[in-house]
Symmetry: D2
Subunit: 285 residues, 4 copies
Amino acid sequence: MSDVNAILLISCPDGKGIVAQISEFIFKNNGNIVHAAQHTSKDDKLFFMRIEWELNGFSLGRDEIPAAFTPLAEKLNMKWDLYFNDFVPRIAVFVSRHLHCLHDLILRQSMGELSAKIEAVISNHTDARDLALQFGMKFYHFPINKNNKSDQEESELKLLRELNIDLVVLARYMQIVTAKFLECYPQKVINIHHSFLPAFAGGNPYQQAYDRGVKIIGATGHYATEKLDEGPIIAQDVIKISHRDDVADIQMKGKDLERIVLARALRLHLENKVLVCGAKTIVFD
Amino acid sequence: MSDVNAILLISCPDGKGIVAQISEFIFKNNGNIVHAAQHTSKDDKLFFMRIEWELNGFSLGRDEIPAAFTPLAEKLNMKWDLYFNDFVPRIAVFVSRHLHCLHDLILRQSMGELSAKIEAVISNHTDARDLALQFGMKFYHFPINKNNKSDQEESELKLLRELNIDLVVLARYMQIVTAKFLECYPQKVINIHHSFLPAFAGGNPYQQAYDRGVKIIGATGHYATEKLDEGPIIAQDVIKISHRDDVADIQMKGKDLERIVLARALRLHLENKVLVCGAKTIVFD
Amino acid sequence: MSDVNAILLISCPDGKGIVAQISEFIFKNNGNIVHAAQHTSKDDKLFFMRIEWELNGFSLGRDEIPAAFTPLAEKLNMKWDLYFNDFVPRIAVFVSRHLHCLHDLILRQSMGELSAKIEAVISNHTDARDLALQFGMKFYHFPINKNNKSDQEESELKLLRELNIDLVVLARYMQIVTAKFLECYPQKVINIHHSFLPAFAGGNPYQQAYDRGVKIIGATGHYATEKLDEGPIIAQDVIKISHRDDVADIQMKGKDLERIVLARALRLHLENKVLVCGAKTIVFD
Amino acid sequence: MSDVNAILLISCPDGKGIVAQISEFIFKNNGNIVHAAQHTSKDDKLFFMRIEWELNGFSLGRDEIPAAFTPLAEKLNMKWDLYFNDFVPRIAVFVSRHLHCLHDLILRQSMGELSAKIEAVISNHTDARDLALQFGMKFYHFPINKNNKSDQEESELKLLRELNIDLVVLARYMQIVTAKFLECYPQKVINIHHSFLPAFAGGNPYQQAYDRGVKIIGATGHYATEKLDEGPIIAQDVIKISHRDDVADIQMKGKDLERIVLARALRLHLENKVLVCGAKTIVFD
């Protein structure tokens, strides 16, 4: 009947028998594991695991799993999250005036590549309005200036709640998101930064790259945190440039990179393959 | 006391509870799993696993593990191999007249990067003699012509047995190795082919690449099989070229690639991270 | 006043003084060279050059240049083409049912990245109709079967002439274009093949790549020629895959590659940076 | 008779007719241009050119070229350097305790890839002694501590002069070279930094990369300048890492990168393909 899989993301203090006990939990309930990956962070002696199994034939219903798993989770002192791969998160995409990342996400949604639904496009400008409406998305304009930023964020958060948004994607939003906003969406705000972080953090990274004369530029997809451009990195990629590339050429090459890296980071997140460990990520790709 | 790990490479028909039973075997013997990775090949419904645990604290001695594991292995219809990461395989490197790969392996051995010992260098030419002797390796010259190939291979095999060679590396050997030879070293002969297979199989791949006008060249590290250049691929990489590169330039760029790809394939093999599944590999990197 | 540049693409038998005489022609007419690149093909002793200069201040009008240049061209036995960088070629995009490349080209046009105009979308299916119309392009449906192929191509060619199409882009068209068609658009038909040619030419390259167990897949942008997948290569790129990728994963990764490689090949062509030399290209990037 | 080429590296204020006049100079002296490349830096309105022609048939002797070229050079206000591609520069390699880059350069020299001669290895440690002597190079030990640094550099400079060293390669030297030293070898000191500059400048970049959780690491080959790690970049490259890589893994992957990037930067320099423009390079590859 169902082709749905369950996914557990787990972190706990390292120790013996964790894999055995978790896989035994699934086995004794007649589950078929289709993917399992683990990692031990030696620095802080933490164990991380992603385990995915078929619900088909599993002896526990979806709603029964948490209660059944809790005793083991408590015994091993786990943090854990349970996902089902038929869940389609609702995304709000925040953009400013550069629309290539938004356009790319729309393309991927229309190709069926995105296991999510872009519910709304939110911007401090109106450039994205036509594109959003053209593809059947809601568009909301929240112009931001020095005085209204806090109020506008408040309104945005209210809107996100009304729209039942699960995930926020900053697709070249060019505005700093406040700590208060991020608290409402912990590890649920993904940003694309148009440089190979930590190089060229902050504003105008392509100009910085041009001025420094680097031979390679990059892009970084990461969870947004309060400190700009310091969030846990999910994905990065690079492309070669040369002295023949002026800033406009670099921007054009960089746009391709931004689209691919943002899409890759988003996909990894949507497939529940990313665990955060301090300032770093564990990506079970 | 000991920092040695045990590694099991397993393949068996897919089914429920495999991970649970294997990890339970290790847990009940008080083993601490440090790495575990699995893969299910849907095409042929086979399950593959690599599991590594610390011998320190494990309740079974090295020699006791096989007997203790056999009942489970038979129950699940496994093929399995057990390795210990303090084992240092003895390698014979076969070369012809191009010495860059050999030189690179020597460098890596001297840097401590290679968890193996290059015991002997074997060649149908004498170009490598000085280099081998300079770094304290044995050198053997087996000149090969149309008439003596079979006899010389016989002698080589005899020598490899005398030297207790565990692994053969064809580091630009430029000679076809016979099926009989390969049977003596099943999945223990690693070849570097200087193209991005399956493009440009056979002779003179750089000239072929030049003639075709490709914009990227590659190298492929693979297990040697009877059919030339069709063995299971372990590692590949590529580098960009342009119309400005003549054949000599392509060769020079390719040499860097060959060295890196051969070293990567060899390292993956030596770390027992490669399982062969038909004509393909599963690489738990 | 004008910011337009003129571009000469030249090939001729190699010899002394070619650069001097060509640059002298521009200098004596008061032209300012902004780019110049040359290449000598030693195999066939041919000289290739791309030279670009500002029309602003140039003493010859656009229409006067050919006549003024002809004596030198004849003296040096040149093949040459003259372009102006304010020319906006009219493109017809041929697609089948995969729309990612078309969608990507539309995005690039809307971002101002494409110095061309997508005039029409032509397909043997109707999947692309909505997308084309949505972005203000004409859409034409030419269903093709075994019996009508020749007639339909005839009709397509007639349409292309009516629409004054300068360049044909096969953006995953999945149909072989005949020699007769190609003769009407010599080196004006660009194809994207979803493999790293010459590996996996022909149909279903991603399935072929999966079956062979390669660790890297590629895409190739090339001029279409009568022999399928053997045309001069303009651009190639690759991406890593692993045993964890099934055919669907490979297709998804490949789509990103196809979009980027087609766009790169198209841009190089549109910037008049590609010269064809037999089965190969010279790309002055 | 001779297969030697002459190479001019030129920079001057941009203007009309520069290419024409330079190529005319070569043409009228019966020279055959084999490569020519140019670049205009719009920021500072400077013109850069690399032009290479065959001495065979050229009507001027090597020694006559400078005097013959000077009038044009003065007219166009050029900085220029004249090279001949049969010149074999004498290199001193400075190392500390990491020998992989030195070992790699030795390999390349023995393969004939390096159009230079490694004359001496200089170190503040003795680890490299055996390797250097084994391959017939001189080895000099200059132990450096807080008090003797200036004196030791003085001695090193004296030695370099005695050995007629043309180029200094800092192959993981791990010591800051003083401004005084650099003044003696302007743009003749090439350093490899084991990060993707400007990310992770300074000490212990692999540890920094690990701590930050980046997904890609890099290496940078650049001309050394007084400000550490801020010199003009000649070549960069990167390699992917993951959460599975600890610092030792990152170091091992990085070593391959360092070797390749240093070799590439060195080769570009030795082929006289690099021009410095402020803090940046123009690389005519």
